[in-house]
């Protein structure tokens, strides 16, 4: 049985089809889930894709956090299910309190759309197990608010516990600690500003995104196999 991924569609999301294509090419069954749903279909993974949920009015992710589906996403995370938030999805997970910190405007108020090199600083998470420690991934970024911030003491705690999973080789946006991706305490929720789903085919300039998405599918598949029939 394939791994099943539910991709949440908010009004203003615009990367849900890219996520579906990338995950599909890696062998997952995908389903787009409208944000007004109160329950998730039977899925192993929840993806919050990039875009501008609810127009990003007030703050990025501030309104999406209150979409009806988010209670179910929270419950999925609480029960150990995998959740990945990419770009706007990362912003939503921070606003929802599922991930630490917050995302500010980029330094110099630059909208960034470019390739970055991202180091995997923790290769033992469900999202990075296909990477060797220290591996660099070539991934695109495409955002205005990727300047991640948390309190200095919290930053040290997060670093010490291995939760600062992904780090830019060259900081593009002012993000504290060069953080590109951070996980929750149980490592089953990951948020990242780069777009792995846009880097899963050589034709697109990189296949490194498949390292992250493939790791996630490996982990979910192991869970599916261990489930009683």
């Amino acid at each position: 049985m394939s791994v099943r991924a539910g991709i949440v569609l908010f009004p203003g999301s615009n990367c849900e089809q890219d996520c579906a294509r990338a995950l599909g090419s890696l062998g997952a069954e995908t389903r787009i889930v409208w944000h007004q749903e109160k329950e998730l279909p039977d899925v192993d993974i929840v993806v919050l894709p990039g875009g501008f949920a609810h127009g990003d009015y007030l703050r990025t992710g501030a309104l999406a956090r209150f979409s009806p589906i988010m209670e179910a996403v929270r419950a999925h995370a609480r029960s150990g299910g995998l959740v990945i938030g990419i770009c706007n999805g990362f912003q939503i997970l921070c606003e929802a309190g599922l991930l630490p910190g917050a995302l500010r405007r980029n330094v110099n108020l630059k909208f960034l759309c470019k390739w970055t090199s991202v180091h995997v600083d923790n290769s033992t998470t469900p999202f990075t197990s296909r990477a060797e420690a220290g591996r660099s991934l070539r991934l695109p970024i495409n955002h205005f608010e990727g300047n991640w911030y948390c309190e200095a003491t919290e930053l040290e705690d997060l670093r010490a516990s291995g939760r600062l999973v992904l780090r830019y080789a060259e900081n593009p946006n002012g993000s504290l600690g060069d953080v590109a991706g951070v996980s929750n305490e149980d490592f089953n929720v990951l948020g990242l500003m780069p777009h792995p789903e846009r880097a899963c085919e050589a034709l697109l300039g990189s296949e490194d995104g498949a390292v992250l998405l493939g790791s996630m599918l490996d982990h979910a598949e192991a869970g599916v196999r261990s489930m009683p029939v």
């Binding site: 500010r104 405007r105 108020l109 002012g174």
Partner: protein, 72 residues
């Protein structure tokens, strides 16, 4: 408004732009947002406490922002 000590990219950009217009002597520029609303409440205390709740839950992000409420 971003909390004290948190770098404000918008404020910094404005601070750099002002001298170009010959408007000098400016520092510590911080950019915030004001939200004006009408509220149906029996008295000022009730209105204040409800707006504080709105700020805590939605209008501000307590991780990076501070806020103040004034009643006209």
């Amino acid at each position: 408004m971003l909390k004290d000590g948190i770098a404000d990219p918008q404020g910094q950009t404005i601070e750099k732009a002002l001298p170009a217009l010959g408007l000098t002597g400016v520092s510590e520029v911080r950019v915030g947002k004001s939200i004006v609303l009408e509220i149906d409440a029996p008295d000022r205390d009730e209105a204040y406490s409800r707006v504080m709740q709105m700020c805590d839950r939605l209008l501000a992000n307590p991780v990076i922002e501070k806020f103040e409420v004034t009643i006209a």
